[in-house]
């Protein structure tokens, strides 16, 4: 069964016909040719499909497209301004370049979106599993970064570079 939904993707209004079985990830990748979000597992286990959905990081492989009619989505591409000629990188993206926080690049758009989400969550005082004081403002220690970024696997093992990148972006 098909349904038509509207999405705002990286600032552009898009209308797309989806199967009711279509995930948000497949709607983006296969129907809209928006391929910055990657499919590493399709089961919510790797984080490579992470985007900012209505401002918060979200796994698009675990979201059904029809349930997100009207949603606003920002991908790693959109964080850099969107469009083929845009080269204004988001500070998180610049930090990934500065610290070589990637190798093959397949986890990277998800890591970047996740890092942007993490910085925002910390700013808003959200605690994590390793936050000692649940009442106060969390400090973005290395352990906090590692914990909060652990939903994004990197098989290339670029974690030390990712850590340094998030640290840099947090200070920026």
């Amino acid at each position: 069964m098909d349904e038509t939904i509207r999405l705002t993707v990286d600032g552009a209004e898009r209308t797309v016909e989806v199967d009711t079985r279509t995930t948000l990830l497949d709607a983006l990748r296969e129907r809209l040719e928006v391929t910055a979000p990657k499919k590493g597992c399709d089961h919510g286990q790797c984080g490579s499909c992470t985007v900012l959905l209505n401002g918060r990081r979200h796994l698009t492989c675990l979201a059904l497209a029809v349930a997100h009619d009207g949603a606003e989505i920002t991908t790693a591409d959109g964080l850099a301004g969107g469009g083929p000629s845009a080269d204004r990188l988001h500070p998180v993206q610049q930090a990934f370049l500065d610290h070589d926080g990637y190798q093959c690049g397949y986890c990277t758009p998800g890591q970047v979106c996740s890092a942007v989400g993490v910085l925002d969550e910390v700013k808003n005082g959200h605690p994590s599993h390793v936050t000692a004081d649940l009442e106060g403002d969390p400090d973005l220690t290395d352990d906090e970064i590692r914990e909060r970024m652990s939903g994004n696997l990197c098989r290339c093992g670029a974690y030390p570079g990712i850590l340094a990148a998030v640290r840099q972006a947090a200070g920026a």
Partner: protein
């Protein structure tokens, strides 16, 4: 036309310095297109989607494939099975010759294909195909007492067995003997980008052409493998792989899904067919590292000097296709000993086909050998680094050739200094910090330096001091695109910005696989050869459009020497006394690998290897249920790979050096050595922490709760 060129060492300017990855912006923005992400601009117009139907039995014969309800499902275009799939011209390669016969060789084998207009319809269609089987009994368990045989050679073409002196007599006469069995688990490469292919057939100048984007470590290899099976000339298959989301060996050769896509596309000529293998399917179809059982005997004098080294390996392959992991190969060259023996025996099981995984042979073999060395150090009352100093060979024990630059001990000295080794307590179970036992361990790392035949590069003048450089090699995340740009720039004596590099297309000059840590050495030497020949033919001010294609001749000295890289790995482990939880707060690798071309990408390669070694040491295990013949851990929730929170202070450094006999750049290769010895260093550190010896990986918390 390609000529062979004797190269001379490159005058380095960009080589050895940092250069941002040339594809970095494309990667951090997600604009870099991976295999199934190519769209209309690349000729992938209105693709169909393919889904694989896999056998649910381990051995038997397909008696019926009921496709009716699948074909009735809206959007499904066709279902192919062994009766309806296109015939192959050659079917010797049992892994790739899919759908040619009804026989089932392993659980998870491809038994049908579903083509549909959308991926949702293809997937649903695949679920609706009803396959019935005549089931036969199968064997899927690797045991010490499996029926096994001696393969003719082990990967890639090494001796199966080696023997020198009289091992049994030397062991009988030794003051100290270590005799133990070490085990490594089944492991799956699990690159983060699942294997994926898009293929379409059309005509060019009256000839059939099969075009593909494939997530591959070597496009030329895919074309060479597929073409004869499909009854085509190699140049009728065009394969491109501009971006590949990791491979670690599993994309080194075409696996069955690539053939599935090519066959399905042949039935819908003109229309592209996309296949994205699922994470679950990868556990049956895209290769894995065999589990290994290593019987090791070391015989030494009281001073720790080895008289005898024996390493006998029992492992498995698929009855469908032999792959013999060269697990004992590093044991042949690592330490001095007059009496030595290695052997490999294979059980052929009714299971999926194993293949390359990062440092095949060295990774499991050095786990066994380096834990055994740690045990010997304990038995002799020696520091483990001192034990290695005492067993340093003068010549390569295997070939009796001099090593070119064996600097293992320099790696230990540097590592010891940086890691603070001198303050280490001599005895195990000596340090407690709250509820944690704390210890440190070391292991050696080694990897052979390899340069592959069959590489050529092309240099063309673009005018105004710019050059187009082309070679069909693939960048799977190693940084090849960046380092080849640097090599080309230095070889031509220009800035990296003056180089337009083209890679990853079979229409470019041939390149060997991105594997065996041989890529940069093999391709880089070809680039240098082409650049030097170009300058010789066309001078410093070439006319726009002139070009040269060349391959590199081997250095005549190279035959006289044994080329290996070396390293030392230092680990600190903390083991929780009540839960057995293991943390590795520090991991350091120090390497001797020839000249490092780009320190930034090299560091990431070493660290990536160390992380994967840590992951193998603590987490990774594909668990096969022998009753059914398949891996029950078949996703990233049940097959654990190191996550960010598992990786604490990990670093790598390297010795300043240059190996210009091996390559004109002075480099030797770095991709795999980081994984070698790492799990052993972690295991040795957990022993030092707890006094409990674990002889198999992964080292899970329960191991420390047993006594």
């Amino acid at each position: 036309m390609s000529v062979e060129q004797q190269t001379t060492p490159v005058r380095v300017r960009s080589i050895g310095t940092h250069l941002d990855r040339v594809d970095g912006v494309a990667k951090v923005t997600g604009r870099a297109p991976y295999a199934v992400e190519h769209g209309e601009a690349d000729g992938v117009v209105d693709p169909l989607h393919l889904w694989l139907v896999q056998s649910t039995v381990a051995k038997g014969v397909v008696v019926d494939v009921d496709t009716e309800s699948a074909r009735d499902h809206p959007g499904v275009i066709a279902v192919l099975d062994h009766a309806s799939a296109p015939r192959l011209a050659e079917s010797d390669d049992g892994e790739l010759a899919i759908l040619q016969e009804p026989t089932v060789h392993f659980r998870g084998q491809i038994v049908a294909l579903v083509l549909a207009e959308t991926s949702e319809a293809a997937r649903e269609g695949a679920a609706l195909v009803n396959v019935s089987y005549d089931v036969e009994p199968h064997e899927a368990e690797l045991r010490e007492d499996n029926a096994s045989y001696r393969p003719d050679s082990v990967n890639p073409d090494m001796e199966t067995d080696t023997e020198e002196g009289d091992v049994d007599a030397a062991i009988a006469a030794a003051d100290i003997v270590v005799e133990q069995t070490y085990r490594t688990a089944y492991e799956h490469n699990n690159p983060l980008e699942p294997h994926a292919t898009v293929a379409w057939w059309d005509e060019e100048d009256g000839r059939e052409i099969l075009s593909m984007f494939d997530s591959s470590q070597g496009v030329h290899g895919v074309a060479q493998t597929l073409a004869p099976m499909l009854g085509l000339e190699v140049d009728q298959v065009r394969v491109r792989a501009p971006y590949v989301g990791g491979g670690f060996g599993s994309k080194g050769e075409a696996h069955a899904h690539v053939m599935a896509t090519a066959l399905a596309a042949r039935t819908v000529r003109g229309r592209p067919v996309k296949l994205a293998v699922t994470r679950q399917q990868m556990f049956a179809l895209t290769g894995y590292r065999t589990a290994t059982i290593s019987h090791v005997r070391l015989g030494a004098g009281a001073d720790g000097r080895l008289a005898a080294i024996e390493h006998r390996v029992q492992e498995q392959s698929s009855a469908l296709k032999e792959y013999a992991e060269q697990t004992a190969s590093p044991t042949r060259m690592m330490y001095a000993a007059p009496h030595r023996r290695t052997s490999h025996r294979l059980a052929l099981l009714d299971v999926a086909v194993p293949s390359w995984m990062r440092a095949p042979g060295e990774m499991p073999g050095m786990f066994a050998h380096e834990v055994a060395m740690d045990e010997l150090a304990v038995e002799c009352g020696l520091d483990p680094i001192e034990l290695r100093i005492r067993n340093e060979p003068e010549l390569d024990p295997e070939t009796k050739k001099p090593f070119n630059n064996r600097r293992l001990l320099d790696c230990f000295r540097r590592g010891a200094e940086r890691f603070g080794w001198s303050s280490r307590p001599a005895h195990a179970r000596a340090t407690q910090d709250g509820d944690w036992w704390v210890g440190t361990g070391v292991a050696s790392a080694t990897y052979p330096a390899m340069r592959m035949p069959g590489n050529a590069a092309r240099v063309r003048s673009l005018g105004a001091g710019r050059y187009a450089v082309a070679i069909g090699s693939v960048d799977i995340g190693t940084g090849a695109r960046t380092v080849l740009t640097q090599i080309a720039a230095d070889a031509l004596g220009v800035e990296p910005g003056a180089i337009d590099l083209a890679i990853a297309d079979t229409r470019l000059p041939p390149a060997s696989v991105a594997g065996g840590s041989s890529g940069t050495s093999s391709w880089g030497s070809a680039v240098v050869a082409a650049a030097q020949r170009f300058r010789a033919d066309h001078g410093e001010h070439p006319d726009p459009g002139v070009e040269t294609t060349a391959s590199a001749a081997d250095d005549p000295q190279a035959d006289e020497l044994a080329f290996h890289s070396f390293g030392s790995v230092f680990a600190e482990a903390r083991v929780h006394r009540w839960t057995g939880e293991i943390r590795v707060p520090r991991l350091l690798g120090v390497y001797s690998v020839g000249r490092v071309i780009n320190p930034t990408t090299a560091r990431s390669q070493f660290i990536g290897g160390l992380v994967m070694g840590l992951s193998a040491g603590l987490f990774e295990e594909s668990y096969r249920d022998a009753r059914f013949g398949h891996m029950v851990t078949q996703d990233l929730a049940s097959y654990h790979v190191a996550s960010h929170a598992d990786v604490l202070d990990i670093d790598a450094e390297w010795l300043e050096e240059s190996d210009e006999v091996f390559t004109p750049m002075g480099s030797r290769g770095i991709g795999e050595i980081g994984i070698v010895g790492t799990a052993a260093a972690v295991a040795n550190a957990t022993y030092h922490a707890t006094g409990m010896r674990v002889r198999s990986i992964p080292i899970t918390p329960d191991r420390f709760l047993e006594s």
